[in-house]
């Protein structure tokens, strides 16, 4: 079977993508190598595709992330928006709970944990301001007013996080996940919250660092390190 120019054009990408085999491939090549119209066409499309595959990924402007946060989670009351918000959260971090560069998230997580949200058995309802109010102890009352807005922001982030996590779990099971990790639950000398011999805070801190890893992985732009 001899191939027409139209057929060559129609199958050009199949050929370039290596989808033609045997007789089809030879027929394609026979025509393309000798035809004065198809030979240059093949050459230019081939180099175009090569060029496109080599093109650099577009660099995301850093300000875009702040703009997105402003737009989705609502603008901060301050003029400088999220940058200022992160400053405030940093300011709220106590040295006791400061986890190095990730202190921003540690603070948020601790804040929410202390308000009665369980990361071990998370329920969206726990992030509802009224529920937090009811669960709150005396100390929490003091931060209630300031935290409600952060918490509802976090609620959106949480919702997205669960989607992402779910998505990732479905797609891939990484080796680290398969291996039994010496995670918070299994580490020696540690028990769960029911044990009176262990300080609650220890477990909470472990939960926090576990959660931090997750947050840091998915939201690296907010972790403080990348703020430019």
């Amino acid at each position: 079977m001899t191939w027409t120019c139209d057929l060559i054009e129609a199958r050009l990408s199949d050929y370039l993508d290596g989808l033609l085999e045997g007789a089809e491939r030879s027929a394609f090549e026979a025509h393309a190598s000798s035809c004065p119209d198809c030979a240059p066409l093949l050459a230019s499309v081939r180099s175009l595709v090569r060029e496109m595959h080599a093109m650099e990924e577009v660099e995301v402007p850093p300000r875009l992330v702040y703009a997105i946060l402003d737009k989705t989670l609502g603008p901060r009351e301050t003029v400088t928006g999220w940058q200022a918000f992160l400053q405030v959260v940093r300011g709220m971090a106590t040295p006791k709970f400061a986890y190095g560069a990730a202190s921003v998230f540690a603070t948020l997580v601790i804040l929410v944990s202390s308000l009665g949200f369980s990361f071990r058995n998370p329920k969206l309802a726990d992030l509802r301001p009224t529920n937090i109010y009811h669960n709150a102890d005396r100390q929490a009352h003091l931060v209630y007013a300031r935290s409600v807005k952060y918490v509802s922001d976090l609620r959106v982030v949480y919702e997205i996080q669960s989607r992402l996590r779910q998505d990732e779990n479905n797609l891939q099971t990484t080796p680290e996940e398969v291996l039994p990790k010496s995670g918070p639950e299994k580490a020696p000398g540690q028990t769960d919250d029911r044990s009176p011999s262990q300080p609650r805070q220890q477990n909470r801190a472990n939960e926090v660092s576990r959660q931090l890893e997750l947050l840091a992985a998915e939201l690296p732009l907010m972790s403080g390190r990348d703020i430019r």
């Binding site: 054009e9 129609a10 199958r11 050009l12 990408s13 199949d14 066409l41 230019s44 499309v45 180099s47 175009l48 595709v49 090569r50 060029e51 496109m52 595959h53 093109m55 650099e56 990924e57 577009v58 660099e59 995301v60 402007p61 300000r63 875009l64 992330v65 703009a67 997105i68 737009k71 989705t72 959106v156 919702e159 997205i160 989607r163 992402l164 779910q166 998505d167 479905n170 797609l171 998915e218 939201l219 690296p220 732009l221 907010m222």
Partner: protein, 167 residues
């Protein structure tokens, strides 16, 4: 989030060829994603695919909207002026960043029909699998393949008309 932002912004930029426009559109995509999060089902082929679909639908809406605006204005020659200004108004650092040839490819892309443009962007610039593109565009595999093929050929011809010959 960064991964998604990169893809969303990348698609928007490649489609519009304009950084400011791409930034605005990426923000709108996120807004739409957050608002319609409840309608997401894993059956749609994963979160990334779903986000890509949202991006694509928004770009098409945007394209139709701006096309309608153009028609209402019926100032075709004014459009040409705007287009020239846009390509002439690129910052020098952007030019250096993209490289001469990439810049020509980008310019040629925006001259492609949106239908072919999106197919080529998803396949050759975002390097998605055919199956994923199929889900995003909601057309059969044969259509996806033929759009990518026609898009590439068309793009090569536009570049030739522009006097560009990829080595």
């Amino acid at each position: 989030m960064r991964r998604h932002t990169r893809r969303i912004y990348g698609i928007c930029y490649r489609f519009t060829g304009n950084r400011t426009e791409a930034e605005d559109l990426a923000q709108e995509v996120y807004l739409r994603v957050y608002r319609t999060l409840g309608s997401y089902r894993s059956a749609h082929g994963g979160f990334a695919t779903w986000v890509t679909s949202v991006t694509r639908n928004l770009l098409i809406d945007h394209y139709r909207r701006s096309k309608r605006d153009r028609v209402t204005d019926s100032l075709d020659d004014k459009m040409a002026v705007v287009e020239n200004k846009e390509s002439a108004g690129r910052r020098p650092d952007e030019q250096a960043l993209l490289g001469e040839l990439s810049l020509q490819v980008q310019n040629a892309l925006t001259k492609l029909s949106p239908e072919l443009r999106e197919a080529v962007i998803l396949r050759d610039l975002q390097q998605l699998e055919y199956a994923e593109i199929q889900t995003v565009l909601e057309v059969p595999e044969g259509t996806v393949k033929s759009r990518i093929n026609r898009g590439r050929i068309e793009l090569a011809r536009i570049l030739q008309q522009m006097g560009v010959r990829p080595a």
